[in-house]
Structure formats: C-alpha cells, structure tokens
C-alpha cells in the first residue's frame, strides 16, 4: 500500500469539492445574489445622491462582502459532516489540517473569488472612480481568503450543531473587523489618490497569518465537533 502524498491528496480533494460545487450551482449562487441585494439596499435606504454614495460605497461593498462570506460558511463543512465524509477524512492518513485548508481554498474559489469579480460591478453603481478600482479589487482579493480562513474555524466549531448559522456569524464577525477596516481603508485612500500599500500589506500579513494558523485551529475544532 502506497499512501498518496500531500499534493496528490490536495488535488483529489480540490477536484472533488469543485465538482460537487458545480453540481449544486444554485446553492453557490445564493451568497452572490445576497451580496448584490445587500449592496443595492443601501442607496434605497439612504439617498441616491452621487456624493453620499461615493462616500459610503467602499464601506458598503466590504460589509456586503463580509456578510455574504459569512452566509456562505454554512456550506463549508455542513454537508460533509452530515453524510459522514468528514469523519472518513479525519480517519485518513492525511493530516486533517491540510485537508481542511484545501477545502477552505475550494470554498473560497466558489464563494470568495466570484465576489472579487462582481465587486467592480457593484462599485460602479456607487460611482467609484475607475482609478480606485484596482485598489478595491486588490483589497478584496487579499481580504476574502482571510474571511474564508477565519470563517473556517467558526464553521468547524459549529459543524456538530444542528443550527449553527447565527452562532457562526457571532463568532466570526468580531474577528473579521481588522480585515473590514483595512479593506475599506485601502479603497478610501485610493479614492483620495493616496498610497495604498500600507493597508494592502497589512491585509496580506493577516492573510498569511490566517493561512498558517487557521487550518490547525479548524482541525482541532473539527475533532471536537466529531467527538
């Protein structure tokens, strides 16, 4: 018997999760539609004036992205937990933290990446100037993986509960605040024509921190949930 290496197992799991995602496209589309709807609610509730929308635009895009990523978390471990495949993964010779990291990456590819791609569209509706667009996309590209990684810990902790939805939000949202602050700040600075490397570097630093420690915490949480 020859145990597959880390790369082989990662590819297999990535392909599986993307395939399953493709077979459940409707479920994946929900958080994206939610993102668009939340973002359009703000002009309706405040006022459609250009100056105001420009002012609050970056913040709204970020809050909507954050809420949509929390909403998407429920699909991360729930189905694997319910049908027992997560239990089988925990009993495989592969390191659980590694498998969960790959699952989180697959989850980001189907829930976070589409947000990054859709965001310019929403930003356009908020009259965001074209030269601030790259900064906003970059901040989302660096921030949404972190949201998925932090969310993965919350989802792992609540995977064993029947109704974990609201609890995940309460666990994850406070931890996501730094990302929200630096993410929205980067776009703000770009709109004023200032240098954005500061907040972007910080976002990248947080992402690498979450990348290195998040899966370990998630694996410990999953083991508790499986007990």
């Amino acid at each position: 018997m020859q145990t597959p290496g880390l790369v082989d197992s990662a590819l297999a799991l990535l392909v599986r999760d993307l395939k399953l995602g493709y077979r459940r496209l409707g479920e994946l589309a929900n958080p994206l539609v939610f993102f668009l709807v939340v973002a359009t609610l703000f002009p309706l509730a405040t006022s459609p004036e250009k100056e105001l929308l420009m002012e609050i635009g970056p913040g709204i895009v970020w809050v909507a992205a954050l809420l949509s990523s929390v909403l998407a978390l429920d699909t991360l471990y729930r189905s694997d937990m319910d049908d027992g495949t997560l239990e089988q993964m925990a009993l495989s010779p592969q390191p659980l933290a590694w498998l969960l990291l790959i699952k989180t990456i697959a989850h980001w590819l189907v829930s976070g990446l589409p947000l990054v791609i859709l965001a310019p569209l929403v930003a356009q509706a908020f009259f965001l100037p074209a030269d601030a667009m790259p900064a906003m996309v970059a901040s989302l590209a660096l921030g949404t993986p972190t949201l998925s990684l932090i969310g993965s810990i919350g989802a792992a902790l609540t995977a064993g509960l029947r109704r974990g939805g609201a609890l995940v939000a309460m666990l994850v949202l406070p931890l996501s605040m730094p990302i929200l602050i630096f993410g929205a700040r980067a776009t703000d600075l770009a709109m004023d024509g200032l240098d954005v490397t500061g907040p972007l570097n910080l976002l990248a630093a947080i992402m690498f921190l979450a990348l290195s420690l998040g899966p370990i915490a998630a694996a410990a949480a999953i083991r508790v949930s499986l007990d």
Binding site: M1, T3, R24, D83, G84, T85, E87, S92, P93
Partner: protein, 209 residues
C-alpha cells in the same frame, strides 16, 4: 496477500456519558485473525466504544495501542492500517458509488485503481455505478460503503452494525468478506446485537450492559 503481525490493545478504558458509565476498565487484546464482537442492546454504547477505538472520540481514561504505540501518538500509522464504517456511510449524495470509492482511496492508497472495479462488481453495484448515491436505496448505499472494505488493504476493520439495511444475500456477503479478511490474518471489530456466522478466525466477545 498475508497481513504482517500486528496487535491492537485497549487498557483500562473508561467512558462516562452524563451520569451514566458506558464502560469501565475495559481491556482487550486483538491479534492477527481475531475479531472482536461488541454486543449489547440499544443504547449500551456500542457505537461510542467503536468511535473511541477509531480515535474519533476520546475515552476519559485508558490507552488504545496499535502495535504497542498509543493511537493518538501514531495517527499516521494507525489510520493507514484501519478502516471504519459507522452509521453514516460517508458517501456524497451528488457523486456515484464509483466516484465516492475513488475519492476515498485518493486519500489513502495510490494503487487501489483496479481493485475498485472488482469491488463494485462483487458488491453487486454494476447497475447503479453511474447513479448519484442520492438516488440509491438504503441497502444499495450500504453496499457502496462496504465496497471500501473490499478495496482496502488495511489490517484492522471496524464495522458498526454492518448488517443494517442489508438483504439476506448482503448479510451473507458481509460475513463472507469478513471471514476472508480474517483468513488472511486481518483483524475485525464488529458491533452487532445479533449472532454472526464468521467462519474463520477467533471471536473475542465484549459485552456492554
């Protein structure tokens, strides 16, 4: 193929659930060609004991040793040599039995390829191999999960109520493949509240009350 000499031991295992003691100072030794029959009525803790033996749950005290090393210290060795099936089949509803089986072994064994074909045939799943598991009957799902054991080259098999949802032929098939496994020097732990006709190997009964 013969299995190399291995041993699986439990020492002083104790577990409480709430104010109820499921087992106390439970000890056992399992060697090649031996199988443990975990007996007990509903709610006596059979499933919990099996999950503890897998390493999914933790006992309050006591050690579980695979080849004289604690399983929580040698997870890779232990999990490379065992295979488990619980109440949940571990099948994705959106994938067919073959895809499920392939994925299971993509994490475990590179050379499982041709054995998968054989396992599907022997479990009688040829007709539903391209159907999503969601559309299979409970018995067929059970067979799809059991096909993993035919592909496996793990020494220790842990099966929780393997007969659930199976027809008479399915039951005989399970008894047959477990017997074959024991003949080759494998070990098995079976939880069932009824008799089993395992034709080879030595039975090690464990009664939970």
């Amino acid at each position: 193929m013969k299995f190399t000499e291995s041993s699986f031991k439990g020492r002083n295992l104790t577990l409480w659930r709430g104010d109820r003691c499921l087992f106390q100072n439970l000890g056992f030794t399992l060697g090649n060609s031996e199988w443990m029959h975990v007996m007990g009525g509903n709610g006596s803790g059979k499933t919990t004991l099996l999950r503890v033996l897998c390493g999914l749950s933790m006992a309050e005290s006591g050690d579980i040793l695979w080849n004289d090393r604690r399983i929580d210290r040698s997870r890779f060795d232990y999990h490379s040599s065992m295979i488990y099936m619980g109440h949940l089949e571990g099948l994705k509803g959106d994938m067919n039995p073959e895809e499920n089986l392939r994925f299971h072994y993509q994490l475990r064994d590179k050379q499982a390829g041709e054995r998968i074909e054989m396992a599907i045939e022997r479990m009688g799943l040829q007709r539903c191999r391209t159907l999503s598991c969601r559309y299979l009957s409970a018995g067929q799902r059970r067979r799809a999960a059991l096909a993993r054991f035919l592909v496996s080259q793990a020494t220790l098999w842990i099966l929780d109520e393997p007969f659930a949802n199976l027809d008479v032929k399915g039951r005989e098939l399970v008894e047959e493949i477990v017997s074959e496994h024991l003949e080759k020097g494998g070990m098995a732990i079976l939880a069932a509240h009824h008799d089993m006709q395992i034709s080879s190997g030595t039975e090690v009964p464990v009664e939970l009350s």
